[in-house]
Symmetry: C2
Subunit: 382 residues, 2 copies
């Protein structure tokens, strides 16, 4: 099987799997228990929390809250800031559903939306951004790497510029698709919170994190046993946290070699397909993470191409998994300036450090063959 | 090591561990993805959801929502019902923190609290209950099995009686400590929601469930990709769900033999300690689940006894793990009619199907020895 949907979810890294399996057997106690089995787990969790902050180059007083998903992390920010009627939030319609859906819910409570407009290449239209920013804006959300098209937002630069003039606005980064893949340092940023995900970097599903700057307080989504410094009650899933940490550790240790590898993979696909399929378009490749490659292949619906690829055991997607069961038009495509008649021709491939060059070559040949065959078939029918 | 803190958390059942390990390796795709890897996982999740409903003997149209913890499940009910100022909620101060803490938060929003009073044996004072129930009560919470003392609440009987007169009140059951251990049938109940936990029955941590009667709608805590029928967005942690299901399956298949075994274990401890320690009291043993045994052993602080037991590798607790790091007085003990001077003498042991008779005999000898030695020491000091 050739899996090219790493942006949706990733297989567990071997070391993370090993740590997780060991912990599932051994670390069965409740980390909140006062006895030694509990306190040992508690201390390990606290240690990893600090280690993750180090990878982010956060301040020693900053916090890392373990949550169940990046969706939960994002929701904690939207609902934890106690925004009130008249406040404005800025985000892009190309962001993940866990950004746009909480924003839409808050709209019902009188919180105004200011859309961050994108240019045709998927990057932020900074001119429009600055003119729409005013003192009523209380929350600005940037996706570090857009999950659909891979566009990178330089949140370090942007946040520093924003805070110079608007020091009190809360800047939240959804880094689910960039964390552990593209290096960044919080030392160079002026952000207030940042979501990270485990299952996007070879860690287990069911665990994620929310970075919070030291001075930030959030009203929690849930109340209970006071775990996670009262930000997130629930018995801490120690084995998942340990597996997540191991995936983070390996991702950061190999971040540059993985990036180099994926860059090569990405380039080889673009070169290969550009050569073979004259009509293909890569609208976002100039400003994107090499981990995600979105393209438009007109005439044949992506659904049909996906099914044909599947019969050859090649797994590709057209859009974010979280949006894939949504019927009707895709607002992310609109925000990314894809003309509505082309929505059904969008395809997304995404990679990891373990993606093989021969596999992507096979994918290129397969999709070319499928595309040409189907076009021939269409012509004969006409 | 002799582990007698199964009410806090349990080791993974072998079959659940096996299923989980297999799934962690194989089921890496995103269950929301439209491709075959995703849809296969999606369908398996839907199948298990229905199977769990069957174990509960729920109606075919009822729902089982997978959440990250029973704390989350409980919070979903408290915050999902859209209670407004003047509404009343009924619960006991002996309930888990994930009941009392959301109730206290809602109090700040004008939702009134009506305390369900308990008798000295830990059971509900039904006379007081019925007189305090009125038409302003919109939510009643019962713990199926109290996590501190094990008292069982016959929610089937109670809910049926309540709904005869008050048909619209929402009845929620926190079944984290009873589910999979003590049989019950939703056919005989008239409840609206019920929380279940995985890590209390030999399943993995980080996964739990919320049963919802077919006609019940809840405003979700989070918004995003629409998973779990919009009740709970986030990439579904398929391996955890599969491990949880396996733990449920085995728990239900062996529910009676496990119960018989634990009943024997429980009785043997009580007999043994009653014989050896004349001052020991078991205030709740008449109406309690045999899985939990709480006792008061005066004169020597439970903290000291726990530490001494730990040096012999015997793991016991004094209270719920989620409350164990809370300093100051324990409101659960007050609700259970333990006089304040005795709070520091409370001990809780809890069991599973795998608790060995020789281990509990060893525990009884050890605690007797420790207790007598420490008392001697005290006398000599006096």
């Amino acid at each position: 099987m050739i899996y090219l949907d790493y942006a949706a979810s990733t297989p567990l890294r071997k070391r993370a799997l090993h740590v997780l399996e060991k912990s599932l057997k051994e670390d069965f106690a409740n980390p909140s228990s006062a006895h030694k089995l509990g306190t040992c787990l508690y201390e390990r969790i606290e240690m990893y929390r600090k280690e993750i902050l180090k990878y982010l180059e956060g301040h020693v007083n900053d916090r890392m809250v373990f949550t169940s998903s990046a969706t939960e992390s994002n929701n904690m920010v939207f609902f934890g800031l106690n925004l009130t009627s008249g406040d404005k939030i800025m985000f892009s319609r190309a962001d993940h559903a866990s950004i746009t859906a909480p924003a839409d819910l808050l709209k019902n409570r009188g919180i105004q939306q200011v859309e961050i407009k994108l240019k045709a290449d998927g990057s932020i239209d900074e001119e429009k951004f600055w003119t729409s920013l005013d003192s009523d804006v209380k929350l600005i959300v940037f996706s570090y790497v857009n999950n659909q098209c891979g566009t990178i937002t330089d949140f370090c630069k942007l946040s520093t510029e924003i805070k110079k003039k608007w020091s009190t606005v809360h800047i939240h980064i959804d880094a689910a698709q960039g964390f552990g893949k593209l290096p960044f340092s919080l030392k160079e940023a002026r952000i207030d919170s940042l979501s990270i995900s485990s299952h996007k970097i070879g860690g287990p599903k069911g665990i994620a994190g929310l970075y919070l700057k030291s001075n930030i307080n959030l009203t929690p989504l849930m109340y209970g046993g006071g775990q996670e410094n009262h930000f997130r009650p629930s018995t801490q899933a120690a084995p998942l946290i340990f597996g997540f940490y191991e995936a983070i550790r390996e991702s950061f240790e190999t971040i540059q070699t993985s990036l180099d590898h994926v860059q090569e993979i990405n380039k080889s696909i673009r070169d290969n397909l550009n050569q073979k399929l004259s009509e293909i378009r890569f609208p976002y490749d100039k400003v994107s993470s090499p981990y995600i490659l979105t393209f438009i292949l007109p005439h044949i619906s992506s659904d049909i191409i996906l099914r044909h690829l599947e019969t050859q055991n090649i797994i590709v997607s057209s859009t974010s998994a979280c949006s894939s069961r949504v019927k009707g038009k895709n607002p992310v495509f609109d925000a990314l300036h894809i003309p509505p008649p082309l929505h059904k021709f969008v395809l997304r491939v995404s990679f990891s450090h373990e993606t093989l060059k021969e596999d992507v070559e096979f994918f290129c040949s397969a999709i070319t063959q499928i595309y040409n065959d189907l076009k021939q078939l269409m012509k004969r029918r006409d």
